[in-house]
Amino acid sequence: MSNSRTLTLGRAVREAVHHEFKVNPKVFMMGQDIFKMGGVFGTAEGLGELYGPERVIDTPISETAIVGAAAGAAMAGMRPIVDFAYVDFIAVCFNAIVNYAAKTHYMSGGQYKMPMVLLLSTGGGYSNGAQHSQSLHGTLAHFPGAKVVCPTNAYDAKGMMHTALRGDDFVIFMSSIATVGMMMLGTPIKGTLSNVPEEPYEIPFGVARIYREGTDITLVGTGVNIHQCMEVAEILEKEGVSCEVIDPRTLVPLDREAIFKSVKKTGRLVVADEDYHSYGVTGEIITSVVEIDPTVLKSAPKRVACADVPIPFARPMEEECLPSTKRILAAAREALK
């Protein structure tokens, strides 16, 4: 009998991690400030007291060594989680992620598996500046060899963390900070809260979630932007427009079929993603539709993403850069013309 409670996304992830720690001695975590503090985003809360410093390892500020060591430990059969805090820091240890962890299984002809999870927090919207506000979904999804998953609600997050920790692949687990439900960002977004069963469950990668079915326009969103798409859907519903809202949930593998099927039905497409506008997820999703059959579109597809600028600090300037319900709504109206 399932026992359900409403959890934040962060709490749901933590629950999955706790469970896998309990049942699998090969699972361990490394990262900055996880043992005493439970991690900057609370992902390791309570873990240190239960499992001690040998399995919940506080590390120095050495991203190259930490990610590289996690990869080596994974090759040796362990199942490390790297609590990496801000996605922006991938630039510090880029080689370890994209050349080492992502490629070793392939280069070795399958001899060495890479069962590690790189836990990243993404996104801005709270004036943390250009080097602490990025999303970088596109950057990480671009390199073959890592599964890139980005759940947007608590239910998906828990299931996907179980899948990640039980699978044998390198998984980059990205959570938009605005969806995690941590206290530093005020009240959690309602759409991120879910009824979450106590027992473990898995959610397969490569399957999109249809947040809302509709017939007139397809809105695809990642991270916090899916919840903005849902707000847009509510607004447009009052105007007699029926929106289909899709969350890909995973960027690698990407459920291109579900997105194409939806656009074939609606004929109109808006993609919202907080990563930079150019060379990213929005372009990828639009192309995924157009390269199959451009004639399914009744109007030009629209992308709503972060302006191609380093993200400025001042609140009004940052708001101007980032996608928002208002910008997605404007794009939808354009696409509906």
Binding site: P60, A65, A69, A71, Y100, T104, G109, Q111, G167
Partner: protein, 329 residues
């Protein structure tokens, strides 16, 4: 550590296996690349970083290790280390030629040699081997395997950030890890004195509170003594250490780099570890000339067999490019 005759012959065997293989590799490498040199041409494409001259490091290290529990992670100049650690030889040569019978089905090649059966890995971004080996050492400690992990990096790689981060982290965690630095004095065309702020990378151990030892002379038995100390320390819970080994890179950075930037006096000072060790075995009365001749013939036959196997094997079908990106596809 008193070595038996068999152990000494084993050491010599590992060195000449690497040496004779590379002499063949040079010929194979040049096939298709003359008169116009093209990396992409011929049965052995790509860059080729020969261990020629550095062979002593392979068995000097490997004799201290047990490849059923000890990890070795090498870099872009891996042949001698791989051979001595017990990497499956025919499959290694097949991998160099990119065949489906190769260690990695042709997906890795010369700079990315892996043999999980003997806990060996080698990859090509300089310095990345060190954190990875530290991670392998973590597994040894966490699962109490009694094993250790060793990385093999060059004097150039010792200036990478990964060197410093890996050693610092391994020291704090007191991991069963040994950082071997092969000092052939050259990082492509940059000498150690030009690139490194201290005289020896073994001295850098003090920056991390760990011991470092420098081994001169490119002699496999001297290398063994230093490695054994570091290995024992790691295995007994004493934490990591650095073993820096003087050696000589005869064939330039990649073949056919003539190493014109190396002063002639330096080249003249090099000794050939295969020649020296052979002389040493005879002088010490360890073995007779005829036994060495016989061993050398055996090794040459082994190499001929491996090369034939590699040449006669097929490439993986092209559809294989999509496999093993992940474990489930």
């Amino acid at each position: 550590m008193q070595l038996s005759k068999d152990q000494r012959l084993w050491i010599y065997d590992q060195m000449i296996t690497s040496r004779y293989l590379e002499e063949d590799l040079i010929q194979i490498y040049l096939e298709g690349k003359q008169p116009v040199f093209d990396w992409a041409a011929g049965p052995l494409p790509g860059e080729m970083h020969l261990s020629y001259g550095q062979e002593a490091v392979g068995p000097g290290l490997a004799i201290c290790l047990d490849n059923t529990k000890d990890w070795v992670h090498a870099g872009h100049r891996p042949h001698h280390v791989a051979i001595a650690h017990g990497v499956h030889f025919n499959e290694m040569v097949a991998e160099l030629l990119g065949k489906k019978t190769g260690l990695c089905k042709g997906k890795g090649g010369h700079m990315h040699l892996y043999d999980a059966r003997v806990k060996f890995a080698a990859s090509s971004i300089i310095g990345e081997q060190m954190p990875a080996a530290v991670g392998m050492a973590m597994q040894c400690k966490m699962e109490k395997t009694g094993g250790i992990a060793v990385s093999v990096t060059g004097d150039g790689g010792a200036n990478q950030g990964s060197f410093h981060e890996a050693l610092n982290f391994a020291a704090i965690q007191k991991l069963p890890y040994v950082a071997v630095i092969e000092d052939n004095n050259w990082a492509i065309s940059m000498s150690k004195a030009e690139s490194t702020a201290v005289a020896r990378n073994s001295d850098r151990g003090s920056a991390y509170g760990i011991p470092g030892e420098y081994v001169k002379g490119n002699d496999p038995e001297k290398i063994m003594v230093a490695c054994q100390k570091a290995v024992d320390r790691a295995r007994n819970g004493g934490g990591p250490s650095i073993v820096e080994i003087e050696t000589y890179r005869f064939m330039g950075h990649f073949f056919p780099d003539p190493g014109a930037y190396i002063p002639q006096e330096e080249k003249d000072s090099w000794t050939d570890c295969t020649v020296e060790y052979r002389k040493h075995l005879l002088e010490q009365g360890v073995v007779k000339e005829a036994e060495l001749d016989a061993l050398e013939k055996t090794v040459k036959d082994k190499i001929a067999t491996a090369v034939k196997f590699a040449r006669e094997s097929d490439f993986s079908p092209n559809s294989e490019i999509y496999t093993q990106v992940f474990t489930d596809a």
